[in-house]
């Protein structure tokens, strides 16, 4: 209390003083010298960029003039009486008084503030604060900087080197000499394709006397398909790629098509801007190809929570937040996710702007489509072509086919029963945790947890009198696997049993059906093995009658051949007598044809369904497929050729004379490839209504927002439609200040261990200062100028003298520059997790270089995939032999059970986007490379290979094995050490009772054939030597 009285006393004094000053000559106060220090000292503790309670920032002129959330200007120039700042520092209300802690303002300080405001509140623009971050280097588009001068040009190879050398000059440091050729080719191999060179490749390069020998190696490696594998993995971290859903169920998902797309895109050097556009909006490109649609899998790599009891919308929103984070870190190099809950604390990104970007991405189905490999596409085209050929034949041989078809169509139009759609209430507790989302057309979409067995109960009172039949429609939906209509992994469904109770006057009666008819009636077929429920019962699918036969083993199903499986189906249940009026109906929709493990993809549920009833007597299922039925009402002359072909393709099946041709076509369809699935985006017809979410809570929508971009970044192209494609083009515009910088910085990081900006996920105002700002900009501009070509960027870097330096560094240099930010020597650090395994496979000769396709399951202990380690039992169908020796890129990645080796060596598990891995060194890593069976496989293979192909003498062989691991030849003392080990181990395994094959053979009962003269003891000793070599620091290090 006393301070306030004192201050008020002071105010009186000041007023007196002020009144003494000349009225025309307002007191002049220097903002920079007198006001700024005062604000800093007494106000910025709360009201600066870091924390601004009530939204007021006194470090920004605009904010001070505008006021905080209250809307009351803190500073009203020339009117201290209206300035909230003055009111607060003089308030007698304790809750209002500022500053809230510490000493009150002194009279002199108060006087300064007041005089400054009344003097016009002069606030120079240079000190107005950086509300839009315009002064932050990364928020201005990069421009080509001048090439700096250097003291000694002899060392230079490219302009890139000038930036590095000029910095070294300033630091008084000298660059290192070029590394030797052996080191260089190994470095290039690890960097460009993620694999070490073979001794033959080393020799070829070392002996190549041509002046462009180095460039030839670079070109060869950049042209290798393994280039895409190595650099694809880098992007897959940013794309948070994994092969499972995450969260509790963590079910396998099939998204390797996206992984292969990334690898292929890099291999064909798809320009990086295009690379991003296709991933953000490939589906919206004109005549989008399958590949371009697959590319949108990038945005779909988010986790999906399908544990029981989830609100699917909550986790769709979480996936949206994840996409925002991924786009922020991976594409923009900005931490935009900070603005999910509030304005960004450091960057000039408002929460509203966050949701404006969000609005670009928020208008899509979570689609799951069928995709085909190139070979499958060919087979599919063959099937379609042959079917058309048969149909063409029919037409040719039947000149009046059109008249006959028209006549049929006229007849088929008429006489359809009228169906009244029912909108029942779902008994939530009956669904086993699955959510039935009601849609506008009266259908329900199955979402969330997918139990493998349940009977959904739905209740409705109908006013329709005299109902004669019920219809259950199964509809397609973009959110379902392969578009549905079922929810199984194939988009199919099985209806075990359909029953209806009618309650009339308090009496409940199970209704009786005269028959069930469906538009599709598969023959009785054993249930697919993926739905095995371990009951041992013979479970089957078959025709419509199976849904009302009272048997739990039989079901009506929609499964057909893969080319025609995913279309709408219907089944009609005809009552044996009309329904009593005013009945309350309870439908029991039993879906028990799933498998034993509900934590795997084993459900066989209806995906999107709709119930209806009719009063038409004798109503049956409409055999005309929905897509044909839809065309029939259209006047005949309005049909397109596609319409006609569609109608024909059904009509022909009704023509008795064509039975043979129809049978032939049915046979042809069986050859249709199965294809794979891929999660992609598919734009909804109607955009969603996007709101700012208060505190990022999806249950607290605030104001509606339109799509837009942050004011501090480049503007949207004028007049462009506000869709994802426009957003993608905006993000990859040449004026986008961070996109190219973020990309080149990540590439630099991969080469040198640290980016030019160390915080590669954040180029914003909290980012670390670039070590070489001009070099970063130069690279970004060169990158764009050279057509956003990644391969050109790699060439630019690896041909520099900077890159080619030897990595040896003196203790003084390491002490001065521990992370080699100044680049006075070449990079030396451990390779990434995937390469730890790939290098061993490659050195041993076991590596299977096969590219692409479904992810692999190399041997791992089974317990990892079983409770109580895993939440649910997980499938891990072990790939033995060569398939298990493929590159680590292809290892199946469960998010909740990360691959132990990859995790231990710092590979992220895909829970969220990662653009900068850690690089740890732990005892658990040592246990992996020592004891993980795959490393022993490699040691055995290397031993056998060495004995077979490594030369005649032990020394030859030691050099050979050493070179397969390190590329270089061992030094004399290293060779001597290895010789000693070899001799000792030969002795050990020659001793009586020794069991060399236990170590040296994959299966000791079936030892491999050794080259002539070699003994099992030697094989074992060489296995020990190989194991030593594979465990050396140098083997898993890029030097």
């Amino acid at each position: 209390m006393p301070p306030r009285y004192n201050l008020c006393a002071g105010v009186v004094l000041v007023l007196t003083c002020a009144s003494l000053a000349s009225a025309n000559d307002k007191p002049r106060v220097d903002f920079e010298r007198e006001i700024l220090p005062l604000l800093k000292d007494r106000c910025y503790q709360c009201h600066d960029g870091r924390k601004h309670p009530s939204g007021l920032r006194l470090d920004l002129k605009a904010s001070a003039l505008r006021g905080g959330d209250s809307g009351k200007p803190a500073v009203v120039p020339n009117d201290s009486g209206k300035s909230e700042l003055i009111r607060r520092v003089t308030s007698t209300d304790k809750a209002d008084f500022m500053p809230p802690t510490g000493e009150h303002l002194s009279v002199a300080q108060f006087k300064l503030l007041r005089d400054w405001i009344d003097g016009g509140a002069e606030w120079p623009d240079a000190l107005a604060g950086d509300e839009l971050g315009r002064r932050h280097w990364a928020f201005r588009p990069p421009v080509l900087p001048p090439i700096p001068p250097v003291k000694d040009a002899k060392w230079l190879r490219t302009d890139l080197d000038r930036f590095v050398l000029s910095r070294l000059d300033k630091e008084g440091l000298a660059p290192s000499p070029e590394a030797d050729r052996t080191t260089l080719i190994r470095r290039l191999g690890l960097d460009l394709i993620g694999l070490p060179p073979t001794p033959e490749e080393v020799d070829a390069y070392v002996n190549d006397k041509s002046p462009d020998a180095y460039e030839k190696v670079v070109d060869r490696l950049l042209a290798s398909p393994h280039y895409g594998e190595r650099w694809g993995r880098q992007w897959l971290d940013a794309a948070r790629y994994a092969d499972s859903d995450g969260y509790e169920k963590d079910k396998p998902r099939f998204v390797w098509s996206y992984r292969d797309w990334v690898v292929n895109a890099l291999n064909r050097d798809l320009p990086y801007d295009r690379f991003l556009v296709e991933q953000l909006a490939g589906d919206l490109l004109l005549n989008a190809t399958q590949d371009q649609i697959v590319a949108t899998g990038y945005l779909r790599n988010s986790m999906i929570n399908e544990e029981g009891g989830v609100d699917p919308e909550q986790f769709r929103m979480d996936a949206m937040f994840d996409r925002m984070d991924a786009v922020g870190k991976g594409v923009l190099g900005l931490t935009i996710q900070c603005a999910q809950c509030h304005d960004h604390k450091f960057d000039p990104l408002t929460q509203k702007e966050y949701y404006q970007i969000f609005a670009f991405l928020n208008n899509d189905f979570e689609a799951n489509v069928t995709v085909y490999t190139a070979d499958e596409q060919k087979r599919r085209a063959d099937v379609l072509r042959q079917v058309h050929e048969v149909e063409d034949g029919l037409r040719q041989h039947t000149p009046d086919w059109r008249q006959r078809m028209d006549a049929w169509a006229d007849k088929a139009k008429a006489g359809q029963p009228e169906w009244v759609v029912l909108r029942p209430l779902v008994d939530e507790e009956s669904t086993g945790g699955q959510k039935y989302l009601p849609l506008a057309d009266g259908s329900f979409l199955a979402q969330g947890y997918a139990p493998t067995k349940h009977t959904a109960k739905m209740k409705v009172k109908t006013d329709v009198k005299g109902a004669t039949a019920f219809r259950l429609e199964l509809l397609n939906d973009a959110n379902l696997p392969r578009g549905g209509p079922g929810r199984s992994i194939q988009g199919t469904a099985a209806l075990t049993e359909f029953a209806v109770d009618a309650e009339v006057g308090g009496k409940v009666q199970r209704l009786k059906f005269a028959k069930a008819t469906a538009d599709y009636n598969p023959p009785e077929t054993p249930l697919d093995a993926i739905y095995d429920d371990k009951s041992g019962k013979k479970r089957v699918i078959g025709p419509a009658s199976f849904a009302i036969d009272g048997k739990d083993e039989t079901a009506w199903a929609t499964d057909g051949d893969p080319g025609r499986r995913n279309q709408p189906r219907q089944i009609v249940f005809t009552l044996d007598k009309p329904l009593a009026d005013g009945a309350v109906l309870t439908f029991h929709i039993t879906q028990n044809h799933g498998g034993w493990n509900s934590d795997d993809n084993q459900n066989h549920n209806l995906g999107r369904m709709r119930l209806a009833l009719t009063t038409t007597p004798g109503a049956e299922a409409d055999l005309v497929p929905t897509n044909v039925r839809r065309i029939l009402p259209t006047p005949r002359d309005k049909w397109t050729p596609e319409h006609e072909a569609l109608v024909f393709s059904y009509w022909r099946t009704t023509v008795g004379d064509w039975a043979d041709a129809n049978k032939h076509i049915e046979e042809l369809w069986k050859a249709h490839p199965e294809g794979a699935t891929q999660l992609v985006l598919a734009q909804q017809d109607q955009p969603r209504d996007t709101h700012l979410l208060k505190r990022g809570d999806f249950l607290k929508p605030g104001k509606h927002v339109e799509p837009g971009v942050p004011a501090f970044l480049n503007p949207l192209p004028a007049g462009a439609p506000l869709n994802r494609l426009t957003f993608a083009k905006w993000a990859t515009d040449r004026q986008a200040p961070t996109t190219a910088r973020a990309a080149v910085n990540r590439v630099w990081q991969a080469y040198f261990g640290v980016g030019l900006v160390a915080t590669s996920e954040d180029l914003g105002m909290q980012s670390e200062e670039p070590s070489h700002p001009e070099l970063l900009d130069w690279l970004a501009v060169e990158f764009m100028d050279r057509g956003w070509s990644m391969k050109n960027l790699h060439r630019l870097i690896v041909t520099s003298a900077t890159y080619r330096q030897a990595s040896k560094a003196s203790p003084e240099l390491i002490a001065r520059d521990p992370y080699n930010r100044l680049l006075a020597h070449g990079p030396r650090f451990r390779v990434e997790a995937e390469e730890v395994r790939d290098v061993a496979l490659s050195a041993s000769g076991l590596l299977n270089p096969k590219l692409g396709g479904p992810s692999i399951h190399p041997p791992l202990p089974e317990f990892l995939f079983q409770p109580p380690v895993s939440y649910g039992p997980k499938a891990w169908p072990v790939d033995k032999g060569p398939e298990g020796y493929r590159r680590s890129l292809y290892i199946f990645r469960y998010r909740s059970v990360p691959h132990p080796l990859l995790q231990t060596f710092d590979a992220p598990n895909g829970d969220f986007a990662c653009v900068r891995r850690g690089r740890s060194d732990t005892p658990l890593q040592a246990l992996m490379t020592l004891n993980d069976p795959i490393f022993l496989d490699c040691a055995r293979a290397l031993a056998l290979r060495t004995l077979t192909a490594g030369g005649k003498t032990d020394d030859d062989r030691l050099v050979y094995a050493f070179r397969r691991c390190e590329a270089r030849k061992p030094a004399a003392d290293e060779l001597a050490m290895l010789r000693t080990v070899l001799a000792k181990e030969v002795r050990r395994f020659t001793e009586p009772g020794a069991k060399p094959w236990e170590l040296a053979a994959d299966d000791p009962s079936k030892p491999p054939k050794l080259p002539e003269g070699a003994t099992p003891a030697q094989a074992a000793a060489w296995t020990v030597v190989s194991r030593v070599l594979l465990n050396l620091d140098e083997t898993i290090t890029k030097e």
Binding site: E307, S807, P818, R828, P868, W997, L999, V1024, V1028
Partner: protein, 482 residues
Amino acid sequence: MNCQAPFLRGQDPTQITRRWFFRDCAVGLGGIALASLLQQEGRAEDASGAPDGDPLAPKKPHFPAKAKRVVYLFMAGAPSHLELFDYKPQLAKFDGTLPPPELLQGYRAAFINPNSKLLGPKFKFAKYGKCGAELSELLPGLAGVADDIAIVKSMVTDAFNHAPAQILMNTGSTQFGRPSFGSWTTYGLGSESRDLPGFVVLNSGKKGPSGGNSNFGSGFLPTVYNGVPFRGSGEPVLYLSNPRGVDDGVQRDTLDAVKALNQKRLDVVGDPEIATRINSFEMAYRMQASAPDLVDLAKEPQSVLDMYGAEPGKPSFANNCLLARRLLERGVRFVQLFHEAWDQHGNLTNDLKKNCHDTDRASSALVKDLKQRGLLEDTIVLWGGEFGRTPMVQGGGNDGRDHHPNAFTYWMAGGGIKPGLTLGQSDEFGFNTVEDRVHVHDLHATLLHLLGFDHTRLTFRFQGRDFRLTDVHGKVVEKLLA
């Protein structure tokens, strides 16, 4: 989750990276530690003598701590507070009636229609110990240590689905990617063991935790702070055993050769990371030597096995509790047991009987055992799940409860926690908390306080921001402190 290089967290890199230690101290550690393995039993020197820079070296917290280590018995699936700890006579009285509508305003349930009938408690309660703690008849073991534990009946969380709620309870956020409590603890305190990981995880029960490895992941902290899963049978740590055909002689020869060649390379290229690698291999070897002995419960006297209900060679929660004590004794900083068994949407009565039979004796034995060894005073024992259960019934059989985040119970003991305390209250139906509400963040803040940390200052710089376990929340619950 291994995202972010382990430097640049706003500190001088020389303070945090191992390489500096090894540059200055050469490579000797492996040999020295190996030699002293038997005397040391895996305990490193006290923090004052620890080298700077080793990320797992013992470190001093912000202020003198009451607790030095933690054992967290995580009851995944969410046990029913209404059957075990929080007796509600009114719930019994109104069994079968609908809850007051005002209670359900804005309430979301996972499976049930919230407007479902109330379900009275299934078991009898009585008061135990000098403190008179009220506990269910299902917990006779815990009743025996009632005066050693504190019970918090006013826990609150934000999430009501298993995976996000478990992630919140273990990492302070429902979003994946944050470091777990155990990781923060080892990041802050390091480890006192030289041959065991600082943070060990043990699993039992029907399933693994819903959030998978992220429940004990290091998030954006360096990977060395990841929880390391141990197994009570077979190989205690993955790939701990020598592979087939490699006996100890071969292994030692291999390691000696690797070390000699690495040393040679270190001399040539001068990269101190090589020294770190040499040390890692030696530590791995020491772990190989000590871990099998550690997990060999047959070394325990029968009386101790009986006390826990442990049976060597037969994996169980009881075995894991005993294993936890052995780990703590050897200087492991944080041991977390996951026992996923508590999701009683149905079969509440029988499942709870079974679960309590499986866990009550061992949990209480752990408290007793730590106490008799003088370890309880600086060890926090923490017991609880990710949320509570609804006072409303789930299922037609009147024998299930749904997920409930508004009120649930935790118990804890040792490490500066006030023994014999019952803190907080829920309302007459056990639906909302009405007194001394303790949010997950408050619990974390309190536990960190006991470990010697100001929870607002135990931070890590990531993506331009200082992150902490309690995010921007959390208040130390003073009443819980002894």
